[in-house]
């Protein structure tokens, strides 16, 4: 592990990039080359940058991380407990590398389905034709050094193509497992939902050991007319790890995007979610929960961009902050001049459990159209004494009442998860984390 700073630090991260094999997709090679150029031109953000004002990532820049060299030999039994009972379609990546023996592909179950769930480097030429217009198209990396780094290492990744009017009944599980320390992994996801299709995708980040590593992910989700996508994102990395994620979603006419993201792990995590409501009648629901303790920092930046009339967006983001943890939320709602009849609401609620816990929140509205309904709200506080009193009057002890209320605060988001087994799992996690004696 070497200590480096500034541009030389970024260069050190690029080591090994040149050894990536060229892709058959010309666009992908060009994209990587551009990204390498951008990484060289950019610098690591500091707290002097408005977008990173409350998130000091300097601990990250003191450590140099490289992509994995020797892949961990994992058995199904090692990771089985992460599998979902509902999901038969599963892609597993270990430290960023595709693990076919742990994955179950759709084609294993039914040969005739036209749905594609596969690894990027195994894409057929037909799939490539579908992927090409979208891959790297929605995530802008000109000014985003982390997205640029991810794109520079773009090689493997999950891609899902749901053709027109197909409804995928079972959730698709994308499982990213971290096993080794001082490793940088660059997971990539691309979901293309054809017009009138429906799909539920779980993006799941887990670790086998408490190690220091970096996960830098980029996800792109494209919805054609009338498509419905449920996107669930669970980040339960090691408490020593760094997790930087960028997700870009683009919605066509009357499509619907519902997302729930839960951040539990990582020493420093940052999630950028950009939702582009690109055509009339599109709807999105963006919910989030950060449940953090000790010295964790969880930063969520969302941008919901209304560009056309009659779009709707709903957002509820909650943070439960324990010990000396620090939660950051920056939620921007943009209403462009054309976007008349926008209906948008945003709410950010924060619960501070200790006197050392810290919250920085900035719900932000930028409105350029007049016939719109936009509201946002933010609250920071502790448990309501009257609510505690009510429960005590019903015979609960002070501590039980507090635990119950804290749990209920987080459960509001967890309850919205449409996958029963995952919901149950997370409910247990939240229950454990919110129990104090």
């Amino acid at each position: 592990m070497s200590v480096v700073t500034g541009d030389s630090y970024l260069k050190s991260l690029l080591q090994g990039q040149s050894q990536l094999s060229a892709s058959p997709l010309e666009r992908l090679n060009r994209l990587r080359a551009n990204a390498v150029d951008r990484v060289s031109a950019l610098r690591m953000p500091t707290i002097r940058d408005e977008e990173w004002r409350f998130t000091d990532i300097s601990p990250l820049t003191k450590l140099s991380f490289q992509p994995i060299r020797i892949v961990s030999p994992l058995q199904v039994s090692d990771v089985e407990h992460f599998y979902l009972a509902e999901s038969v379609t599963r892609l597993v990546f270990v430290d960023g590398v595709y693990a076919p023996h742990l994955s179950t592909q759709l084609s294993d179950i039914s040969k005739d389905s036209s749905v594609v769930v596969s690894n990027l480097s195994a894409a057929t030429s037909e799939d490539l034709a579908t992927i090409e217009p979208h891959l790297g198209h929605h995530t802008e990396f000109q000014d985003n050094v982390f997205a640029a780094l991810n794109t520079a290492f773009l090689h493997e990744g999950a891609f899902i193509i749901v053709p027109r009017n197909i409804s995928v009944e079972m959730p698709v599980h994308l499982l990213f497992i971290a096993t080794q320390k001082e490793v940088a992994s660059y997971p990539r996801c691309l979901l293309i939902a054809g017009s009138g299709s429906t799909v539920t995708v779980l993006e799941d980040y887990v670790s086998l050991q408490e190690e220091t590593y970096v996960t830098n992910t980029v996800a792109e989700i494209v919805l054609a007319d009338n498509a419905i996508v449920n996107h669930i994102r669970i980040q339960r990395d090691s408490n020593q790890a760094f997790h930087i994620a960028n997700c870009a979603v683009s919605l066509a006419r009357a499509s619907r995007y519902q997302s729930i993201s839960v951040a539990l792990g990582a020493r420093i995590s940052r999630y950028n979610l950009n939702v582009l409501l690109a055509d009339e009648g599109a709807e999105c629901t963006v919910d989030g929960l950060a449940l953090i303790s000790n010295r964790q920092l969880a930063d969520t930046h969302t941008c919901i961009d209304h560009t056309k009339p009659h779009c709707t967006s709903r957002q509820l983001h909650k943070c439960i902050v324990d010990d000396a943890a620090h939660a950051v939320f920056n939620g921007k709602i943009m209403v462009r001049p054309d976007a008349q009849f926008t209906d948008s609401s945003q709410s950010n609620r924060n619960l501070l459990l200790t006197s050392k816990a810290r919250v920085d929140t900035k719900p932000q509205l930028e409105i350029f159209a007049d016939d719109v309904k936009c509201a946002h709200g933010a609250t920071v506080g502790q448990l309501d004494n009257e609510e505690i009193f009510y429960l005590k009057s019903r015979g609960l002890s002070e501590i039980t009442a507090r635990n119950l209320l804290t749990y209920a605060f987080g459960a509001e988001i967890i309850d919205r998860i449409p996958i029963a087994s995952l919901k149950f799992q997370l409910e247990q996690t939240v229950l454990e984390q919110t129990q104090k004696s």
Binding site: P337, Q340, R358, D360, A369, C374, A375, G377, A378
Partner: protein
């Protein structure tokens, strides 16, 4: 003003006239010599000159802030004259000796001093450009120990007070424009309310930019000692000019134990014409320090003028149980830009703050609320409530909200809510049903929208503000 019949949005600036009084103007440009010149002209003591020079050194090292949501051409600080005073040969003893031309100007503005003073019981410390020319009711106030005079006078008569408090709330290096003001401020008001005194009347001052190309750098300092109470009004109008004028004022308020300061502003400076040409750049630093226990600082502002408004009246709630309030109405039309809001810094225990901000944008204007609520780890039991509402008129304008909330104490409770809306067809229809025309209906809706803030204004201002809003926005709906 024959254009009054026309659409009032297109009406020329009502207060746009230049009083032809000989002005004593310093040459354009800013350097140490300019500062020494101002200091010499004003016959200032050594410590104040040092204060200015130190601020100037700070300013040289600073960069113009770029974070705000406003666009304007770079200001050439060397093209501004930093000192302009109406020439008066001798000290004036009574109102009769005031230049009749000057008095006519105030009359045109609707500020008959004597009348206002007598009827409304208001002492007006009139600031004409940079030098205070007439002060009424001073003796009456002096009887109960209140010092109310121009700051340049206070420097001579009460140097110990000015020295003790100047720059303590807004330090010289606080921000780019505050540093500039500290270096070149020419005049402003000074107000000191001694222990236990409740000021019997609203103190008021009219600011007016008169000489073309002379940026105004006002400095206001208000100190309320233990148990003292004061309400201060500031009203602004400026004549019409085509070149942009810079106004970088600094206002400092200090409230000791149980003191209460209420600061109200109606700002109606020249906003530029309908194409966005001309207008005042209003870059103001206003900050109150609630230093003592149970002290209270309240800001109320109605911002209707200026091409660019960039101000954040703030409260530093240092004393335990201190209270900060901010009530604001910001109206922008044509190409006006406003980036305004407040900062509530909670330091003491059980401190409370309330923010009510109403933004109205019409035409091609940009109206942003930018606010900060910071709860320090020491501020146990702190409480904040913020509400920011925006009203958009037309689809060329924009309304933005940038609230920063930083909480480091878990016993604090912070709430923020914001909404954006327009005047609905159904609302107008409801009025029409009852025989009320569109113009009048809009005026009533807007006044209802701003009611929470207008209620905080002193009586005279509330009337003026209501008229001002109607004038600003008539014709932009329908």
């Amino acid at each position: 003003m024959s254009a009054a019949i026309q659409n009032i949005v297109n009406q020329p600036y009502k207060h746009g006239f230049v009083t032809e009084i000989e002005s004593d103007v310093a040459p354009k440009g800013l350097n140490e010599d300019t500062i020494r010149l101002i200091s010499t002209k004003k016959n200032e003591p050594e410590w104040l000159l040092n204060f200015r020079l130190k601020a100037y050194q700070h300013w040289l090292k600073m960069e113009e802030p770029k974070w705000s949501n406003v666009k304007y051409q770079k200001i050439d600080f060397q093209a501004i004259s930093y000192y302009s005073a109406p020439k008066s040969k001798k000290k004036l003893a009574s109102m009769d000796e005031v230049d009749p031309e000057l008095l006519r100007t105030f009359e045109k503005l609707g500020v008959p001093m004597q009348e206002r003073a007598a009827l409304a019981g208001v002492a007006v410390d009139v600031i004409f450009d940079s030098v205070s020319v007439a002060t009424t009711y001073k003796e009456k106030l002096a009887e109960i120990g209140i010092i109310f005079c121009s700051i340049s006078e206070a420097v001579h008569t009460h140097p110990e007070l000015v020295k003790q408090y100047l720059g303590t709330v807004v330090p010289i290096g606080d921000n780019y424009y505050a540093a500039l003001n500290s270096a070149v401020f020419t005049d402003g008001s000074f107000c000191f309310i001694p222990k236990g005194v409740k000021c019997p009347m609203d103190l008021s001052t009219y600011f007016r930019i008169n000489t073309q190309d002379s940026g105004q750098f006002e400095r206001t300092l208000i100190i309320a000692e233990e148990e003292a109470t004061v309400s201060y009004l500031e009203g602004c109008t400026a004549p019409k000019f085509d070149t942009n004028q810079l106004h970088a004022a600094v206002v400092e308020l200090i409230a000791h134990d149980n003191a209460n300061i209420k600061y109200s502003t109606v700002q109606n400076w020249y906003a530029g014409d309908e194409n966005g040409v001309g207008g005042i750049y209003n870059f103001v630093t206003k900050r109150g320090l609630a230093k003592g226990k149970n002290s209270r600082i309240s800001w109320t502002q109605v911002e209707t003028g200026s091409a660019i408004t960039w101000k954040y009246p703030s409260c530093v709630l240092q004393g335990d149980n201190s209270v900060g309030e901010f009530y604001s109405v910001a109206v922008t039309n044509n190409y006006q830009q406003a980036d305004t809001g407040t900062k509530m810094i909670h330091i003491g225990k059980n401190t409370r703050s309330t923010i009510v901000s109403k933004g109205i944008s019409a035409g091609h204007s940009t109206n942003s609320y930018r606010g900060l609520v910071r709860i320090a780890p020491t501020a146990a039991g702190a409480r904040n409530f913020s509400q920011c509402d925006s009203l958009l008129i037309g689809n060329q304008c924009s309304a933005n909200t940038f609230p920063y909330i930083q909480v480091r104490n878990n016993s604090a409770k912070v709430e923020h809510e914001a909404s954006t809306s327009k005047i609905g067809e159904n609302q107008l229809f409801y009025f029409a049903q009852r025989g009320i025309g569109n113009e009048e209906a809009v005026s009533m809706i807007i006044n209802g929208f701003c009611k929470d803030v207008f209620q905080q204004l002193p009586m005279e201002f509330a009337v003026e503000a209501t008229n001002l809003l109607g004038l600003k926005l008539e014709g932009s709906v329908g």
